[in-house]
Symmetry: C2
Subunit: 151 residues, 2 copies
DNA sequence: CATCTCGCAACAACAAAAGTTTCGAAATCC
DNA sequence: GGATTTCGAAACTTTTGTTGTTGCGAGATG
C-alpha cells in the first residue's frame, strides 16, 4: 500500500513559497518534489479551493500564498487535501448482524477514534509559521548551509 | 488504497473459535469472511507462528486456539500479523538535506508517533476475553438473537 | 502573435493486496 | 492400502487506487 505523502510535501512547498520572490510555477515545484507539474496542479487545486494559494497564468505566473503562514495550520492543509484517510487499517463488516464482530469493531473503532482526535488536535495546534520558525532555528544552528538550486 | 482489515477479521474469527467445538477449517473460516481458504491460511500463518493457534491436517483437522482468550491481547494479534503499518499517511523525503522538509517532518513525525503510541497502548490493554465479555453483554441485551449458520 | 502557464480530461503505468490455481504432504477414515 | 480431508506453499491473475503522462484548451504577458 503506497502511503500518501501529500500533506508533508505541501507543507514543505508552502513554506518555501513564503520565502521566495514572486510566483512558483508548477514546473518548479514538480522538480522540488521529483514529480511532474500535472500532479502538482492536481494537489494544489485543493489548496486553491481552500483559499490558501492563488494561481496566475501566463508569464511570471504560478502559485502564490494568499495569506500569512501564521494563519494556516497543518490541519487546514490536511482538510484542503480532502481530509485523506489517516489510517491504513479499518474494521471489516462481513456480518453486520454478528455481535462478535460488533464487539470487536467497537473496541477497534474507539481506539482509532481516540488516535484520530489526537492527531487532529495536534495538526490544529501547529501553524506553518511555527514550522518556519523551527526551520529558522535549525538553520541558525548549523554552519555549512546546504545549497539547493530549486529555491 | 484498500485498507487492511485483517486485524478486525482475525479477532472476530478467534473469538468464534473459542466458542465452537473442535477445529475450524480454513474453508469454514473463509465462508465467514467471504473469502477463500488460501487467504485464510495465509493470514492465519502469522498467528500460528506466534503460537496463538495450531493447525491440524486431515479429517477433523483445522485451526484451534492454543491458549485462553484472556492471554491474548489485540496487540498480540496485531504483531502476529506482521506489525502492519497503521497509518495511511507518511512523510516525504524528497530532499533529506532541506531544513524545511526536516522541520515539517519532525512535526508530523512526532504527531504520528504519539498517535501510534496511543493505539499500541490501547491494543495492549484489551484482551480477547474482554471482547468476548463485551459480546456476552450485547447478547444479553437483545431479545431476538441473530442466527448464523456458520458458527 | 509567440510564449508561458494553469485547467482539465483521458489514458497508461505501477504497486500492493487479495483472490485463484495447482501441487504436495500429512492425518484420518474405511 | 486407498480414498478423503485438510493444511502448506508457490506461482499466477485480478482488482483497486494512486501516480504519472499526454494532449488540448484558455488566459496572461511581452
Ligand atoms: S460470523 Fe460472527 S456470527 Fe456468523
Ligand atoms: S527543496 Fe527544500 S530546499 Fe530544495
Amino acid at each position: 500500500m503506497r502511503r500518501d505523502s501529500r500533506l508533508s510535501r505541501m507543507l514543505h512547498v508552502l513554506i518555501h513559497m513564503d520565502r521566495i520572490d514572486g510566483a512558483a510555477t508548477s514546473d518548479r515545484i514538480a522538480q522540488m518534489l521529483g514529480t511532474n507539474p500535472v500532479v502538482v496542479r492536481r494537489t494544489m487545486a485543493g489548496l486553491r479551493d481552500g483559499g490558501y494559494v492563488h494561481s496566475e497564468k501566463g508569464h511570471g505566473g504560478g502559485w502564490v500564498l494568499t495569506r500569512p503562514l501564521s494563519e494556516i495550520t497543518m490541519l487546514d492543509i490536511h482538510r484542503a487535501l480532502g481530509n485523506p484517510e489517516l489510517f491504513a487499517i479499518s474494521v471489516a463488516v462481513d456480518h453486520p448482524e454478528c455481535l462478535v464482530e460488533q464487539a470487536v469493531n467497537s473496541a477497534l473503532g474507539s481506539a482509532f477514534d481516540a488516535a484520530e482526535q489526537l492527531l487532529i488536535d495536534k495538526f490544529a495546534s501547529v501553524t506553518l509559521a511555527d514550522l518556519a520558525d523551527e526551520f529558522d532555528q535549525r538553520m541558525a544552528k548549523i554552519t555549512t548551509k546546504p545549497t539547493c538550486e530549486l529555491v
